[in-house]
């Protein structure tokens, strides 16, 4: 094959695929049993990191960037004047195998612009996955994009070869979707999601009866939302995310700060800052919901439709609910420990184990790795020293901000920088 031509295609089609955030390669249970190539039974691995600090775990490319749709937020939309290219099925297979053998990647993330119609496109994606699995005996990770509007039969087949399937809903609100992607209907996105969800449930049921039931999308499905393109509130985004977690059994919802890619009066102008801090706060909220036992209306509700920018969402919740504090480190249950600002789940687990041996004091907590600069206002432990002043929420907040540094602080500080 001609490496020069492949190189050119790879540049175009990797460049167009990079706005998909998902790069996870974990959660699958595909072991290498047949002396074939690859194994995706363990944890995910990030093989490299780009200069923007994002993980490179999968070969993330589009099959083609030809597209019949004209979604305003998308770099490959029909009306955008860019170079177009398309891979042959065999080319994608060869690239994946050769990158995998050199330990560059964990597998393939294949998406595509929609050419002709959704089914025609989905068929090609499925063909790549099938070829990798059957002809190349490949057990690495495969993430396929479900093309909105693809038929149920194709979605079923896709799940048989892929480890994960995903549809990006991109715009969290239906009104936003109407504005930015007038050709697409909300149902086009949810239909494949629903199919995949039901197939996974069915697979789990059948597996109980017949152990050899072929795997169906063992790493589940995920979706992605663009942040900061349509003026939605944090509440809109997180309630929408919560909806997908509960109703479609999503493994992950990703949040992607909008990177302006085109001049369009409906969108932020080219050159506006990517809302990275907001993205970070949304991920923190996502984690609180999934691992820390918070429910969504505790963090975001009509009274607080947006997350605080200057402090993290857990601290922000604690400051609004000082009546739950101070928490006694040596007595509180796991649920309450997880709610203390400055305590992560690792610290919580260490505390729970260590306090069976002795009562813990400040020294112990510090060594365990608790972020005491935040935690100290919210806890008591085996010591006579604790925060005895009756501090108000705003006082605690300003004390914490004074005595800590944040990597994003300069972005929202009212203080002008002297040297800049």
């Amino acid at each position: 094959m001609s490496f020069e031509r492949i190189k050119e295609k790879l540049n175009i089609l990797a460049d167009a695929a990079k706005y998909d955030v998902s790069c996870s390669s974990s959660g699958s249970k595909r072991t290498n049993t047949n002396k074939g190539l690859g194994d995706s039974s363990g944890m995910g691995i990030c093989h490299s990191y780009t200069e923007d600090g994002r993980c490179v775990s999968l070969l993330k490319i589009l099959l083609t960037n030809h597209c019949i749709f004209d979604c305003a937020y998308c770099v490959t939309r029909k009306s955008n004047d860019i170079k177009r290219a398309a891979f042959k099925i065999q080319e994608v297979v060869d690239l994946t195998i050769n990158f995998y053998r050199r330990n560059y990647i964990e597998g393939l993330f294949l998406s595509s612009g929609i050419f002709k119609n959704p089914d025609f496109t989905m068929e090609r994606l499925v063909a790549v996955a099938k070829k990798l699995r059957i002809e190349e005996n490949f057990n690495g990770y495969i993430h396929l994009k479900s093309i909105p509007g693809a038929s149920d039969e194709l979605m079923r087949e896709a799940g048989l070869w892929a480890d994960r399937l995903s549809v990006n809903i991109e715009v969290p609100t239906i009104s936003g979707l109407k504005l930015l992607a007038p050709d697409k209907k909300h149902e086009d996105f949810t239909k494949p999601m629903l199919k995949v969800k039901n197939e996974i449930i069915q697979y789990k049921e059948e597996k109980k009866v017949l152990k050899s039931t072929p795997k169906y999308a063992p790493a589940g499905q995920s979706t992605q939302m663009i942040i900061g393109a349509t003026g939605e509130s944090d509440k809109d985004i997180m309630y929408s995310a919560n909806h997908y977690y509960t109703n479609y059994n999503m493994k992950r919802v990703y949040y992607s700060g909008y990177v302006p890619v085109a001049e369009d009066s409906r969108l932020p102008a080219i050159g506006s800052q990517v809302p990275m801090l907001r993205e970070n706060r949304l991920y923190q909220t996502d984690w609180l919901l999934r691992f820390y036992g918070f429910s969504i209306n505790e963090i975001l509700n009509d009274k607080h439709p947006n997350l605080d920018i200057d402090v993290d969402p857990k601290l922000s919740w604690a400051l609004r609910n000082l009546n739950h504090f101070p928490v006694d480190i040596n007595a509180a249950d796991k649920r309450m420990l997880a709610r203390v600002p400055g305590l992560g789940m690792y610290s919580v687990s260490k505390i729970l184990k260590a306090r069976k041996f002795r009562k813990l004091n400040w020294e112990h907590l510090k060594k365990i790795g608790v972020a005491l600069n935040r935690a100290k206002y919210f806890i008591i432990c085996d010591s006579h020293q604790w925060e005895k002043r009756d501090l108000q929420a705003y006082q605690i907040k300003s004390l914490i901000l004074q005595n800590s540094q944040g990597k994003f602080r300069k972005n929202y500080s009212g203080q002008l920088s002297l040297f800049n």
Binding site: K7, G36, Y49, F99, R102, M276, I351, F357
Partner: protein, 258 residues
């Protein structure tokens, strides 16, 4: 009171376990445990050399494992950290573990336990990094070859990972710092030592040890690496935090930066 002793062993993990057995068995007051390559006599203690005995090592291994699976992992990982004084620290850890019926290795308020758990974390991180950062280059004789230079001696820990992943290709991972490697010949993994004329970092200079196709694929990969970067989100601090510079010379996508 008995005199304290410095015990000297051959530097292997089994040697260390034998030493632990001996110390328990003969109730020796241990002043220190040292590798024979770096032994220093104490001023006030006698020294004794311990010879590795597999059966005794095995008994200690089984004894710890019976206490807890995570404890045996901790001992092995921490040992591979090659930290100065790790032997004595581990000896104390094991002794404490056997002295009571409590699960003392979970006592994170204890300094020894905490120190060990930190070392285990560092070694585990290095193991994971090696699973990620190894970059194979295809040699003329069809072996996928990689040089590494990890901070800790993690080769024994990554063997299984690569064996189950690359079951259908021959590969060789060689630690240039510790001068030994793992070779998989499609059936089993063997420990090998080589007389390498040069260290094969992923440099821009091409070597005729590798196939020409190899350089084409490196080229494609480097191109992919560049085009997948989003320039408006650049964050070099985060980048080097995830991929520390000491690994760069072995990674083909960073060869221009080295």
């Amino acid at each position: 009171m008995k005199n304290s002793k410095v015990l000297i062993y051959d530097g292997s993990f089994n040697g260390f376990l034998t030493t632990v057995f001996k110390a328990f068995d003969e109730q020796i007051q241990v002043a220190d445990i040292q590798k024979n390559s770096a032994a220093q006599r104490g001023l006030f203690s006698e020294t004794e050399t311990v010879f590795t005995q597999m059966d005794k090592a095995k008994r200690v291994w089984n004894g710890i494992q019976k206490k807890s699976n995570s404890a045996i992992k901790n001992v092995y990982f921490a040992f591979l950290s090659e930290t100065k004084g790790i032997e004595l620290l581990l000896y104390r850890y094991i002794r404490n573990m056997f002295s009571t019926t409590d699960m003392l290795h979970l006592n994170f308020s204890d300094d020894t336990v905490l120190k060990i758990s930190q070392l285990v974390k560092s070694v585990g991180r290095e193991k994971h990094r090696m699973e990620a950062f190894v970059r194979f280059q295809l040699t003329q004789d069809n072996v996928y070859f990689a040089n590494i230079e990890p901070d800790f001696d993690v080769l024994p820990l990554i063997s299984k990972h690569f064996r189950s992943r690359y079951a259908d290709q021959q590969w060789l991972i060689y630690d240039v710092k510790r001068k030994y490697g793992l070779f998989y010949d499609l059936n089993s993994v063997e420990i090998v030592s080589l007389d390498l004329k040069e260290i094969h970092t992923n440099s821009i200079r091409k070597s005729n040890a590798f196939t020409s196709e190899e350089y084409n694929y490196q080229d494609l990969w480097n191109n992919y690496f560049k085009s997948t970067n989003i320039k408006s989100r650049i964050n070099m601090k985060l980048h080097t935090q995830h991929v520390p510079k000491r690994y760069w010379k072995y990674m083909s996508e960073k060869k221009e930066a080295v």
